[in-house]
Amino acid sequence: MAPYLWKLLPILLVFGGVLGIVPLLVFLERKICALIQDRLGPNRVGILGPDSPLEILGIKTGEKRFLGGLMQPLADAIKLIAKEDIIPPHVEKYLFEFAPFFALLPPFLAFAVIPVGAPLMIDGKEMPLVVADVGVGFLWILAVASLSAYGVALGGWASNNKYALLGGIRATAQMISYEIGLGMALLAVAMQYQSVEPVQIVKQQVEGGFLGWGVFHQPLAFLLFTICAFAENNRLPFDLPECEAELVGGYHTEYSSMKFGMFFQGEYIAMLTMGGLLATLFLGGWHYPGYAALSASDSGFVQIVAVVLSLVSFGIKTMGFVLFSMWVRWTLPRFRYDQLMNLGWKVIVPVALFNIVLTAMLNIH
Amino acid sequence: MNWSQLVELLPVGVVLAAALVVVFLQLVLPAKERYVLPMAAMAGCLLGLGALAQNYLSLNQFLKGGLPWFAALAQPSGHSPAILNGAFVIDGFGISIAAVALIAGALSVLCASHNDDDSALGKGEYYGLVLLAVAGMMLLGFSHDFLTLLISLEIMSVSTYILAGSERENVRSGESAMKYLVLGAFSSAFLMLGMAFVFGATGSLSLSPVFLLPNDPRNYLVMGGFGLILVGMLFKVGAVPFHFWVPDVYQGAPTGVTGLMAVGVKAAGFAMVARILLETFGAPVFRFQWTGLIAAAAVVTMALGNFIALRQSSVKRLLAYSGIAHTGYLLLAFLVQKNANAAMVEESLRAVSFYLVAYGLMTLGAFGVVSLTREDGRTLENLEDYNGLAKEHPALALCMAAFMLSLAGLPPFSGFFAKFMVFRSAIDNGFVLPAVLGILTSVASLYYYLRVVLRMYMPEEGSVAARCQYAWTSNLLIYASGLGSVLLGVAPHLMMGMK
């Protein structure tokens, strides 16, 4: 196999994985919500619940009602694609059509610089499992993530609807405010590792073993990053741009069918991207205890196992963040808007500045 | 890089520190004790002046052959006035610009200190911004590198944009700030693009001379860049055809700020013009190309400024057009012939510097008087408001008359000598026609300056005498600048003799 064909592997792995996992996340979100609210959640479309094919065939599965509805993601996808795509007459047509792309694309692109697994050895050369190992590193993520504000801003404005507009305004202000905190938290991380390239940062963490994980060196940055990641993704407790009680649906009120689906998908991919970045910078990336022993083995098979395990490890860490944010969503109440801004500018930014100074002082050689 | 050289920027540091102190004091002091703020700001300006003088004296003593008047003319054998990797130069010209900036800052502070009633702007921020603007002007006077030049220019400009709009209840003030901001940003863009062109051609950010062979293709780029820079610079100093912003901005801004703009910003702008024209593009091949342009701009500026000023009924607007006219006179001093030697260039620069100091003193004084003639918290700026000022406030009227006559360029005052030097420099360099035109427009300008004086001393029938608000601080400043104007007119060698 030609070496450049190997480059396709991470591309397939990352983009295929991300796209494939999104419907599952929607399902998970609904199930977790149900668990927390002591309900069953979706349990109709599936192979295990009541009215399922198995039940009709006479096999009793009624007891496993909670696991019914496993096919729900598929049904959701078909529903979104097949629904009528309504473009209300009062909208700003071109921008209205354009906005969903800006919601979907940036988080996708951002994932490109995150290494998802241990490097492969190909023809004696190390190939990191990352789509694009660019020199600017996570600056790329910041740059691209900042584009996602366009999706909400344009969507809100083009809808020509006051709720959508309010949602768009809120989202823009919120994303800009928290981007600063996010960037400053990451600055401390860059100072700690003296690099902005995720591949290098993971390498350094791997060399340090379990205690080399970023969360032990930059606990404050970890905390700040987590908070800002929630706000950047417009997740509860920071979901004011689409808070149903005040704004109907926020910036995507007027959207239907797959255009709505794209906003929806964008949100989940953004969660995955933030989770991946969190894992990469603070949780050792794909690293897992025992990797050193496995990768040192002479056997090619064991080495492959080591790489596969690293993929699993990365997946678990990323999903950990995603599940955590779902848990938070269904547990915590929403902030008020002024509280949100106060937190962003009067708490996060000063603390992040303090963290930068602290990091600089601790790292004087 | 030799960081100990930072000491030579101490005057700027003092002003910056004062700015921070004033802003901080505004936060912690209760409203009753805020009268300390202008004192602190004044102290900053005076300390800055002191540091500047100390700097000047010690450098003069320390350097063999004295401090050079203009960095580009420094003899190679002497001590180089460039410090901090050439980012700044400390030379006589820069120091004189910094002094003018500090004096202008002091006026601005004093003007604001006596009218607490109608300014919505927090005093601390006002004084802080004035001091920041002054710091920017000083840095601009010293900067010797496109990067520092641009940053200092922006520090100055951003502060003055905000100061221009600081009377928030006044629509005029907002208009002034808006126009100044938009046009200022526009001209900065020209300047920046030009700098990018020059940098692209020479690969250097330094203001040191550009030398290219005549057949070098990079000449096109340099010429393009020079054209853009020239546009930007003429914008900043308010020369025709880029003068449109001046009257509206000067009229709308609070009077103290107008004084700061008319004197400080203009002086700093001319520092930039001097460095870029006479140093960066000072090589004969370039000089040959720009003298014609500058001569044309100077003549048009003088003519237009003076003739429009003839018809003004608002004193502030009149002073604005007079400011445009004076920009024209100042530009005359930059006309140096192709084969001028260092001594001739130095002579021209001394003329510029003397002109700036003299013009600064008389304009500051005039704006000081304008800021004092108030009624019910409203500035009286129309000509009628000056009816019979001499009866009500003889000393003030005398000073105002002195400023007006000095601006017109009549003999016992500094304005005469300033204009004389500028015209002589132009004639020495062979630019007789522009100089003669300058003298003619100067004679015409006598009309509108005398109108103000006549109003004060021979009021029209049935008009009401103006009443002034008494403020010893401003009065002091006005008397001081009046005295300075006379002193510099009678004994110009006090400044010109300085090496």
Partner: protein
């Protein structure tokens, strides 16, 4: 150290022209757009294109900063401000476009463009030499080796420059930011009397 001339692959060529056309077209759209938000959006596309140009010039760091600051920050703020203004006010559009201003702008652009073209068209050999000299001088001042630069050319070089030779302008720029900050507070703050 010599500059290596890289021949672009056909695909890169296509991408290059795509970016160029996109940049210029969106810049033109900024000028002629009738709705102000369309102009702002076109400006963001234009800045995206500029960032693409930086990538083609091997200035990756600058490209990322361009995206973060201009596309993701400033234009979003502009849009934010526009969204507070009313839809109806701009719908009519008063007086049509200013053809004179458009013409003047186009003429200026043409002049600038021609002057650059004349310069570049003559020969770019001296420029390359000049660049090499500047590069060497810079290496000399910064005191790092070519190997260092090859490892991390962009950020390292920029960082060394900003923290070394250009530290003073860099610090002075903070005064500029202070002035702007102070001004923003002054303008936005509620009226306080006494």
């Amino acid at each position: 150290m010599e500059y290596s001339v890289q021949i672009m692959s056909p695909a890169a060529h296509i991408l290059f022209w795509f970016v160029m056309v996109m940049t210029v077209a969106s810049a033109a759209l900024v000028v002629v757009a009738k709705k102000i938000l369309h102009a702002a959006f076109a400006l963001s596309i234009c800045f995206l294109g500029v960032s693409g140009i930086y990538v083609f010039l091997h200035a990756d760091f600058l490209a990322a900063v361009q995206l973060i600051v201009y596309v993701g920050g400033i234009i979003v703020l502009i849009m934010f401000a526009i969204m507070f203004s009313s839809h109806t006010q701009e719908a009519g559009g008063e007086g049509g476009r200013h053809y004179l201003a458009l013409g003047a702008g186009a003429a200026t652009a043409l002049i600038v463009f021609t002057s650059v073209l004349m310069m570049v068209g003559k020969l770019n050999q001296p420029l390359a030499e000049q660049n090499n000299r500047a590069y060497e001088a810079y290496q000399h001042t910064v005191g790092i080796t070519a190997a260092d630069l090859a490892a991390e050319p962009q950020r390292l070089g920029l960082g060394h420059m900003l923290m070394g030779e250009y530290l003073l302008p860099f610090e002075v720029a903070s005064i500029l930011v202070l002035a702007a900050l102070l001004g923003a507070v002054v303008i936005v703050r509620k009226e306080t009397k006494g």
